[in-house]
Each structure stands twice: as structure tokens, then as C-alpha cells.
């Protein structure tokens, strides 16, 4: 079984490398800005959902408050840049580190909670942060912040003429998130997390330090999510509390993993590739004429998938994969 596992991991890595190369070549053929925009969003959600999946999927601690870390990343970068002129790259790193620290500080009391008490705590904490930012005048309050355009440059991570640099960054981010997950899957942490998810009491009795492994998952997950937030702020060059820290965003981040397959390596990617283009297309083709149709399509899809394929759509590709991991 061990060799099977090693073989599968090698195959996963090769497939991922091929997919990344193919994805990198796509913009050579697809010049349409609208389509490129959808591709950037798809890659961003893939990366975000992959990060969410580390804490919620692998470690089993369902967070519906990840918008907190996304918003922290977006706000740290934006505030440092607009108020102090700090380059977004440092803001990205800083936002990631701050988020990881905050995730651990919050995890300290929250990881004692189980089940729905934990889920609601994550929602409530993100909601408190949202309300605080909405009332914080220096940070733009409810109106948000416009990021001033200072011309195209990699140094300031701003591009007005072409979306391609954003595309390649998002692709890089998705690759990093995937690779981190791939790497962690086979590490001591990965095994601990799956044990904690399946049965925390049994894991504890076998010597897994449940609390520390949850903290580790939270820190990694929050760091990557915050980097995604920094990227998003630069990409749309305008942020406001509701759009980057609202509850809706926590959900949007989780759904690709839910649709593709929670706690799987490929699930978040697959889910994002299906969900994001579908949402964007329904929004632009039907959404305009009859408001709410995009929500109806989206919601119906989620209900049907979670009822018909609770293990996610990834199971369609290799039904035996789950057993192989265990």
C-alpha cells in the first residue's frame, strides 16, 4: 500500500506540472479580456479553496469565517501601501504573517469547541472583525479604500493595460497552494490532521498532539488565504469591508472544495474550474435580465451535489482514491 501511495503522489505531481504548463500557455491563445478575467478569478478561488481545505478538509475544523483572513490580507496590504507607501509585496508577506498569528491566537480558545459551536464561533469572530472595520474611519470605514493607480510595474504590483501579470500571479498562487497541500499530505502533519478529523479522541490517545496540529493547520491555512486577499486587493484596486470580509465570502471560498471534494488534493481545483466560470457566465448571460437567477442556479447545484455526491465530484474520476489514501 505504501508503494501505491508513493506512486500516486508521484503521478499527482506530474499531472499538476503538466496542468500548470498548459494553463500558463492558455493566454497565448485566449486574448479576450472578459475570459481572462474569469480565468484569474478561477485560479484565485482555486488557491483560496485549497487553503481553506487544509484546515476544514484535512483537519476537519469547519471554518465559515475565513473571510477574516482574506480581509486581513487585503486590508494590511492596502493600508500599508496607501498610508505608508510600503510595497504590496511586503504587505502580502506581512498580511500573511499577521493572519497566521491571529489564526493561532483565535485557535487557542476556539479549538476547544466542537461541531456547530466551533462553526458558529468562526462565523461570529469574522463578523465582529467586519463590524469593527466598518466603523474604523482611518481604514475607510464602510466605504472602503481606493488603491491609487501609480502606473504599471511589478514592483508596485499594478497593471492597468493587461490582465496577464495578474493571471500569472494567480496561477503561481494556485500552484503554491496545491504544492503545499501535496507536500503536507505526506508529512507527519498530514497524517495527524486526518487522524484528528476522523476521531480526535482516538488520535489523542495514540499520541497525536491534537491541539498543536489544529494550530498548525490554522496558521498555514490563514497565511495562504491572506496572500489571496492581498492579491485580490491589487487585482480589483478597490476594497470595502463587506466585499472582502463579509460572510458571503467565507462561503464562496468553501464551496469549490465542497463541490470538488473536501479533504482531497484535487477537489478545490476541480470545484473552482466548474463553479467560477458557471457563476460568472450565468451572471452575465441571465443575471442581467432576471435578478437572482445566478443564485438559483448556484444554490441548486450545491444542494444537488451535496446530496448526490457527498464526497465531491472528484470521486467521479477515481472512485478508489479515498481508500488508497487511508
Amino acid at each position: 500500500m505504501d508503494t501505491d501511495f508513493a506512486k500516486r503522489r508521484r503521478r499527482d505531481l506530474i499531472v499538476a506540472a503538466c496542468l500548470a504548463v498548459i494553463a500558463a500557455l492558455v493566454p497565448l491563445f485566449v486574448k479576450d479580456v472578459y475570459v481572462q478575467n474569469i480565468m484569474v478569478l478561477t485560479l484565485m478561488y482555486a488557491a483560496l479553496s485549497q487553503s481553506w481545505n487544509i484546515l476544514s478538509g484535512y483537519c476537519g475544523q469547519i471554518s465559515l469565517g475565513h473571510a477574516l483572513y482574506f480581509g486581513l490580507g487585503a486590508y494590511t496590504t492596502t493600508l500599508l501601501f496607501t498610508k505608508f507607501g510600503v510595497l504590496p509585496w511586503f504587505g502580502m508577506l506581512g498580511g500573511g504573517l499577521i493572519s497566521a498569528l491571529i489564526a493561532m491566537a483565535l485557535g487557542y480558545p476556539c479549538f476547544r469547541l466542537r461541531g456547530h459551536y466551533f462553526v458558529i464561533a468562526t462565523i461570529v469572530i469574522a463578523e465582529i472583525a467586519l463590524l469593527l472595520i466598518q466603523n474604523w474611519d482611518w481604514a475607510g470605514a464602510a466605504l472602503g479604500i481606493d488603491i491609487p493607480v501609480r502606473g504599471d510595474s511589478w514592483l508596485k504590483f499594478q497593471f492597468t493595460r493587461s490582465k496577464l501579470p495578474y493571471f500569472y500571479f494567480a496561477l503561481g498562487l494556485a500552484c503554491v497552494a496545491w504544492f503545499v497541500t501535496w507536500w503536507l499530505e505526506d508529512s507527519k502533519w498530514g497524517f495527524w490532521w486526518r487522524a484528528v478529523k476522523d476521531n480526535p479522541d482516538a488520535a489523542e490517545s495514540l499520541g497525536v498532539v491534537v491541539f498543536n496540529s489544529k494550530m498548525g493547520a490554522a496558521a498555514v491555512s490563514a497565511f495562504l488565504t491572506a496572500v489571496g486577499g492581498s492579491f485580490y486587493a491589487q487585482f480589483v484596486s478597490y476594497i470595502d469591508p463587506e466585499s472582502v470580509m463579509g460572510f458571503q465570502f467565507s462561503l464562496l471560498m468553501a464551496l469549490p472544495a465542497v463541490v470538488g471534494g473536501i479533504g482531497t488534493l484535487w477537489g478545490p481545483m476541480l470545484g473552482a474550474v466548474i463553479l467560477i466560470p458557471l457563476t460568472e457566465l450565468t451572471r452575465s448571460f441571465i443575471g442581467g435580465s432576471g435578478r437572482g437567477v445566478d443564485l438559483i442556479v448556484y444554490g441548486t447545484l450545491i444542494v444537488l451535489i451535496s446530496l448526490a455526491r457527498p464526497q465531491g465530484l472528484i470521486g467521479l474520476f477515481s472512485p478508489k482514491r479515498k481508500e488508497a489514501v487511508r
Binding site: 466542537r114 458558529i120 462565523i123 463590524l131 465542497v258 435578478r291 443564485l295 450545491i302 446530496l307 479515498k322
Partner: protein, 292 residues
């Protein structure tokens, strides 16, 4: 700040809290019965408010008279949701917790979309009703009549629920199913029927709350979202599954909200509720009245 204004806002907080309890109790009932959190609970409230609004707009039925009709309609709706969705969600073998959360979340999104599609995102209100805008003065404290009646309905509903659970056959079947869903099959109770009736009852209770709320709240497709989180906090504060924990939780939430609004800017009034929730579960991870 005078003593009078403090009593005034605590009194309104108490009334609002009783209504929060009524909004939340359906959630607590369903959770206690089958360990499922209905993440479309806020949307149940939303359609109840719309139903009340349309009964008023088309047939000039006052929300107070509409309340029993709306509750009955929601009863049917809740049972149908169980039979069409939840029944299958609880059977899931993989990712059981996630499936419950996201199947009802998906339903919530669909309901919101349908409301936008059919009712438009416009804000509606019941423009004139028997109670709307009226207040009663009790020793210098002004209490709005709709909230007062809402509080009375809430107390009556909790009283009725207590009687129902403890004194009727269906109530006993409900209790038995909640304790051991497998064993009740042996004595000839159809688990699915009890669950469907439980969902119906839970939905009917939030329907009652929605009918009262429509007297003094704007009605729009997203209205449920703002109350849903308060309802989850109320239920969790009381302890998941404890019906009377929801009653106590509602009162606490109402009072904390009123107190916070006195200290912090009104836009931050929910922060107090959320902070109290966190404090309570950090000390008691199962809520105030929840059992292990």
C-alpha cells in the same frame, strides 16, 4: 444617561429578546430532534414575512390574523423541505457534517434567488396594521405594541410547546425519537414521520415570528440573513437542542444587544451579542443549558 432611559432600553431589549427566542426555537427544536442545523432558517423567516406581506397587500388581512395562516403554510413548507432535501442529507455516508451544512445553505441561496426573482429586491412593508406604530406608556416607559404582542405570542408559544412536548402523544414520540431514533422504530413509530412533523413544527414557529416581525420590519430577500446569525447565536448560547435554552438565550441576546447599544455606537450593537457568545462557549463549550 438617566435611570429612566436605561430601564427604557432594557425593557425594549427584553421584548426584542423574547422575539429572538421565538425566531430561534424552531432551530433548537430541529437540532435537538436530529442533530441538524438548518442553515436556511433565516430564509424560512424571510418567506414567512413575504407571505404575511402578500396576505396584507392582496386580501387586506392584518398580520395578526395572518399569523396562524402563515404558521400553517410554513408547517407544510418545513415538512416538504425535510422530505425532499434533509431526509437525503442525513443519509450521507461521506462528510456527513458538511453535507448537512451545505445542502441547507444551498437551499438558502436558492430561496434568496427565488425571492429576488419573483418579489424583486425592493424593500416592502406592511404600511398600516392594527398595531403598527402604536405604543403603550407604562409608568413613563414607552413600549411599542407590536413588540409587546410579539413577546406575548412568544411566551404563549413556549408555553404551548412545553405542554405539547410533555403532554401529547406526538410530543412524547418527538422526545423518544430524539433520545434514540433507532429504538422508536421497534415500538412502531415512523422516524421519518416524526422528523417531518418536527421540521414542520420548527418552521411553523419561525413562521409565527415572521408574521409578527413584518409589522415593524422591512421585508426584502436578504432580511433572513441578518436574523439567522442572531438565531444561531441564541440557540448555541442556550445550548444546542435545548428548547428552553433558546428561550433563555433569546432574552440574554435581547438584553445584551440593548446594553451594547447604550455603550457603543448603534452600528456596533451586534458586537456585544457575539462577544457574549464567545465568552459563554469559552467557559462552557456546550452553551448554558446544553447537555453533552
Amino acid at each position: 444617561m438617566t435611570a429612566e432611559t436605561i430601564i427604557q432600553s432594557l425593557a425594549s431589549g427584553l421584548l426584542m429578546g423574547l422575539l429572538y427566542g421565538l425566531i430561534a426555537v424552531g432551530l433548537a427544536l430541529i437540532f435537538g430532534l436530529m442533530d441538524v442545523v438548518n442553515f436556511a432558517h433565516g430564509e424560512f423567516l424571510m418567506i414567512a414575512m413575504y407571505a404575511t406581506f402578500f396576505l396584507f397587500a392582496f386580501f387586506a388581512i392584518d398580520p395578526l390574523l395572518a399569523a396562524p395562516l402563515v404558521a400553517a403554510a410554513l408547517f407544510v413548507f418545513g415538512a416538504v423541505v425535510y422530505l425532499l432535501i434533509v431526509r437525503f442529507a442525513v443519509r450521507a455516508k461521506a462528510n456527513a457534517g458538511m453535507v448537512q451544512i451545505f445542502s441547507t445553505f444551498g437551499l438558502a441561496i436558492v430561496m434568496r434567488g427565488l425571492a429576488q426573482f419573483f418579489f424583486t429586491p425592493d424593500y416592502r412593508s406592511v404600511t398600516h396594521s392594527w398595531l403598527g406604530g402604536k405604543t403603550i406608556s407604562l409608568g413613563g416607559i414607552f413600549l411599542p405594541e407590536p413588540q409587546l404582542v410579539g413577546a406575548a405570542v412568544s411566551i404563549a408559544a413556549f408555553g404551548g410547546l412545553y405542554f405539547f412536548i410533555n403532554r401529547t402523544d406526538f410530543g412524547r414520540a418527538l422526545e423518544a425519537t430524539r433520545e434514540d431514533a433507532g429504538a422508536v422504530a421497534l415500538v412502531g413509530i415512523d422516524k421519518n414521520r416524526v422528523f417531518a412533523l418536527g421540521w414542520g413544527l420548527g418552521a411553523a414557529l419561525v413562521g409565527l415570528a415572521g408574521a409578527i416581525m413584518s409589522i415593524f420590519f422591512y421585508i426584502y430577500p436578504d432580511v433572513g440573513a441578518s436574523f439567522a446569525l442572531i438565531a444561531y447565536v441564541t440557540v448555541a448560547l442556550g445550548g444546542f437542542g435545548s428548547v428552553f435554552g433558546a428561550f433563555a438565550g433569546g432574552i440574554i441576546v435581547g438584553l445584551v444587544e440593548a446594553t451594547t447599544a447604550m455603550i457603543l455606537p448603534p452600528s456596533l450593537k451586534s458586537v456585544g451579542i457575539y462577544a457574549v457568545y464567545l465568552l459563554v462557549v469559552f467557559v462552557r463549550p456546550r452553551g448554558l443549558f446544553g447537555s453533552i
